[in-house]
Symmetry: C2
Subunit: 247 residues, 2 copies
Amino acid sequence: MSARAEEWQGPALDHVIRKLARFAPLSRDEINGLRSLPVIPREYARGEVIVPQGSIQSESAVVISGITCRTKHLSEGTRQIVSLQVPGDFVDLHSFVLKPMDHAVEAASKVLIGRISHPAIEDMLERHPRLCRSLMWDMAVDAAMTREWLAITGRRTAYQRLAHLFCELYFRLEWVGRVRDQGYDFALTQEMLADASGLTPVHVNRSIQALRADGLIVTERQRLMIPDIGALVAAANFDAAYLHLLK
Amino acid sequence: MSARAEEWQGPALDHVIRKLARFAPLSRDEINGLRSLPVIPREYARGEVIVPQGSIQSESAVVISGITCRTKHLSEGTRQIVSLQVPGDFVDLHSFVLKPMDHAVEAASKVLIGRISHPAIEDMLERHPRLCRSLMWDMAVDAAMTREWLAITGRRTAYQRLAHLFCELYFRLEWVGRVRDQGYDFALTQEMLADASGLTPVHVNRSIQALRADGLIVTERQRLMIPDIGALVAAANFDAAYLHLLK
DNA sequence: CGTCATATTGACTTTAGTCAATAGAAGTGG
DNA sequence: CCACTTCTATTGACTAAAGTCAATATGACG
């Protein structure tokens, strides 16, 4: 990354701005306020820790490319991935108000993130108080996704949980233009999928084989193909409403 | 309920105000702003729906006494309780920005709630813009609890999940003065516990028997006694940090 | 006293986990 | 490009946790 920070001010937040506009129309002033946030880019390799659990952050980060995950490390040594972030998502907007971190954030693929300091956010909110409502909305959508994951984890089979996860990623990535030829880049290992779905890697492997056998997914290298998203949606009983993607 | 709405303006929000002060000190003005919110009280019997799934709310509610739960009804006919609210908690602060509701809210015991209209909140935020940060914090703590539940549901045994739930309620209720004689009022049926922990009622029953046999809990009528909270905390591997109760 | 909701029990099934080995793929240094 | 290490995926045999079904208690309540 040789780009200077200023170069990132515009494009880095484009997806964020487009997303926040789903909640309420943004004025030109507000858009400029968002655009002028200083964004510091940084790259991470898969598996690298972006935000450590228990840390006190003085900046929040946005995914520019790649996928990150929030993970909770439990005392038993096990861990649970509680959410995934795609381009345009804040990985830890809540760290603006909530400290210390109750979870870590890690790179689930090679990832480029943009860091925005809390004072800069504070500043922007002083100038544009209504944007606080937009950030609240972003946090609320985020929370809705966690609720969905909890319901799925508590009440569905391994097969359905994985189908659900693949569906969710499909629609979220599609919204930011990351779906091509009915598929998307997918660097998560089966072990990470296990941590995301509350299963063991072995059982994930077997469930994925079942999904493949049913023709619902095709995996190749670091890509996931979904020949018939409608069929996968049906298998997962997936309802995209909680993603609040419309508008 | 013969009380007029005005009578509730003061005391109904006392716990809320004390809680928000955990995030940042509130000015006298801000406290007055919160206190002058019109709060409309309403009582519900156990099992009654307070907020229907899919509805568009024009007010948010606060628990004044009793316990409520957020439930997600899945297409299979099953359901998952994704969180519990105790006195001083907003049951749906997020409905201020997020519509329609991705879950329902139901009374988990006989409950008294206070309803606050969104325009009134909007109004208060115009006057006291910094309070928006406090509400964000409240939502963030709420989200942290859901993350914890997800991790517990995904990675722990039935026995631990229930122990964890009883611990969480203990500390949350203690903070609002609802713990007496090492126990608290507890009206949840085993079926509700099953929905909260992602288990079946039969398995909840057996796990509770195990907790009783180990001397960790004593159940009597509508009360739960915890003779040795330290022992229960140890059994649950419970770490209260995510509740952000300090200060 | 009878009814309905809740709790409890027993017998059996299923899903998912465990352990351990093997196969494939990707990455590294020479 | 090869040899080697290291991850990651896959398989098999077995175990354990949790679910299912169905009956039976228990308890609150009108």
